[in-house]
Amino acid sequence: MARIVGIDLGTTNSLVAYMKGKTPTVIAGPEGRTMVSSVVAYTPTGILVGDAAKEQLVHNPQHTVYSVKRFMGKGLTDVTQELQYFPFNLSEENGVIRIQIGDKKLTPPEISAMILKELKARAETFFGEEIRKAVITVPAYFNDSQRQATKDAGKIAGLDVARIVNEPTAASLAYGLQKRTQGTIAVYDLGGGTFDISILKLKGGIFEVLATNGNTHLGGDDFDRLLVDVIMREIKTRHGVSLDGRPELQQDIRVRAEQAKCRLSQKSQAIVNVPLPDGKGDYRRTFTRAEFETLVTDLVEKTLAPCRQAIKDAGLSATDVDEIVLVGGSTRIPLVQQRVQTLFGKMPHCELNPEEVVALGAAVQADILSGGIQDMLLLDVTPLTLGIETMGGVMSSLIRRNTTIPTSAKEMFTTFVDGQTSVDIHILQGERELAKDNRSLARFQLKIPPLPAGAPRVEVTFMIDANGILSVTARDVRTGEAQSIEVKPSYGLSDQEVERMIRDSFIFAQQDITERQRIEAMNEAESILKATEKALTRAKGLATSEEIAAIRQAVADLNSAMSGADHRAIRQAIEALDKASYGLAEKLMNSTLQGSLKGKKLSDVT
């Protein structure tokens, strides 16, 4: 079977992992960093993803998108609160947000697809083969539209999404595999943008989710904002600098606030220093941990109600939970750990890296799907009640929250008027009584053969699959024939739109790969040229004039290869230069380090 990788597509950071034998392992990038910042920058010379894009946040805020996960599967009215912090023009077409970047209008799945492509490329470089399949994680409390949007992002990135897995349950897989735990565990997952709590029962390799709850709009980003608000206010009052129409400065403050927040998890105070424009000097301010905790205490409290609800839904009390696992970067905050400990009356576990454990779990799930691990099985639940709108705008529930998936429900429909040929059905998700207070998932028309009122009997089956994604089929009970239904998602891309985006990305893909390889080769060439230059200044007495001439020739060859577009020619020239300078490198090393390391390249010793 084709290789399946595990991907944690996070609000602020994303990772890709695989099974190295029996151990899930995160794939690191060229600099050894495992996390890719979930930031995408659209620059005139190309699209940047990750840390390179993050640098663009301050210089090029109007073309650099961060935290796009918050917009997945959402309509414009859902995100009005975000707008003041988000320096883009947003619009909505066919129920999907479009983000204006330069002259392009991009959807959140398309932007997420760029992050997925980066992770895909990272895995492909690592394995030296094409990766086509992935398990992608989502917050457990994601609704159907948000899950579908994530699946669409995968498709656009050229990935067959083998499974959408909930982040806390993925974490439990990684945790359970390592610890061989049995009993009841609670996974408290506070990430960059979302909060989830899941209660699981672990027994004999079965991971049964008993209940889940959460808030898809609560995370580290919100903690940052509280600091940002203080800083902005003080900059205005103390320095008279207005931040309106200065997205660069706003981004700069956001990045510095985030750094301060992270420092406050380690130290009792952190200094924020913001250089101000127009010669207004610097804003300088010390935040204490106590002050930060006062700011964020309400947000931390907001995570506790979902915890209590999940415990109740699981039919347990807090003390029945044997172990608590902390997931997500925001659980590094001491106040969060304290509150969780008080709620459950136990010390939470944090020995697994909370930022990597979800990706590791995704890799475990990928291995299960590939037929590797056979003794572990995750039985997850649907987080939200599914229903349809009935007379009077009330929601009638079909599948209750916390029902183990896959699951299905059937509903019989008939007509009220003679000769009626269709019935409109409105599908909803949520816990509220009135249809209008719940999430609209889709509307569809059921086609019915013209008969006297009440005679047609059409059975509609609502199926939630193991991804937590809904599908609908209809059958005429009298004839046994399948009935056609046209489903119009309320907040989602149509199949045609996804198809177009896949085609677009396919056309650009070949070009992208070639360009990427050229850029990588160029970067490497530049660093080796710099190293060679440095080495040659110190080469006196160490290399013969023939050697030096050979090196100079290889440098000239590399320079001419670099003016072309062929990355293979550049690679060959790099190798030739390496070979020519090998002797010099060794001598240099012996003379400077007095060490016995052999086989070094020039770039390693200068």
Partner: protein, 234 residues
């Protein structure tokens, strides 16, 4: 949501793949392909249980886990489209069966549906012996709402006390209903064990089902009432 799904083959006595006789097994003896559960399979049969009301929940869970390992879509990722469709449908039936039988109230409601063709939801009915009490509780609820909307703290406090007492009465009633239900569970199970088919026997069964239905109906009413009180008191 997804817009299309593969139609499932109907459950038959023959393997959908190699046409050999499967004799009600989950997997074909010849080609080892997973077989669709009958759409009309009852949850007791699905989980290998007699139609009794007292269930050993530990062995129920063990059976559920065992069948989950047999049917769950995780183990069919690389298989044919048909096998994947069967796995999805079977897991879905299995999950509903387990959820229904795990909970004693859902279990007996389901049994009533199977044995007596009861409606999906048994409507609530006020217990006759509590008729006056219930009228009073409704009055207290109205008083409480009125006091709250007029910011009349004294009246609200009085209504709160009355509602707290009412809650105790209703909880006691529910406990009584449930304890009689438990007795009927025993009676039903003994009748199932006897298994004879004479008229007295089936009349006894019918009588038991009828009484259980009545108890459930009253229990639903009491539970809803308790819900209203809980909502009012916050």
């Amino acid at each position: 949501m997804e817009t299309s799904r593969k139609e499932l083959p109907l459950a038959r006595s023959m393997c959908w793949h190699c046409q050999s006789d499967i004799g009600g097994e989950y997997f074909c003896g010849q080609c080892v392909k997973v077989q669709p559960l009958s759409k009309d399979i009852d949850y007791f049969t699905c989980l290998g249980l007699p139609r009794k009301l007292n269930i050993d929940t530990v062995s129920l869970e063990t059976k559920f886990y065992e069948l989950s390992r047999a049917f769950h879509p995780d183990f069919y990722e690389g298989k044919s489209e048909m096998e994947r469709a069967v796995s999805l449908a079977n897991s879905s039936i299995l999950n509903q069966a387990y959820r229904t039988l795990k909970d004693p109230i859902q279990r007996v409601e389901y049994l009533l549906r199977l044995e007596a063709g009861a409606a999906k939801d048994i409507p609530g009915k006020a217990p006759a012996d509590l008729f006056e009490t219930i009228l009073e509780i409704q009055e207290h609820l109205e008083e409480f709402q009125a006091a709250k909307s007029q910011n009349d703290a004294a009246s609200a406090a009085r209504a709160t006390d009355l509602l707290r007492n009412a809650r105790k009465t209703l909880e006691a009633k529910r406990a009584a209903l449930e304890s009689r239900l438990a007795e009927l569970f025993q009676i039903w199970d003994r009748l199932v064990e006897k298994g004879s088919l004479n008229q007295t026997h089936s009349a006894q069964k019918e009588q038991t089902l009828k009484e259980m239905r009545g108890l459930l109906s009253e229990r639903t009413y009491v539970t809803n009432m308790l819900g209203n009180i809980a909502e009012a008191l916050g």
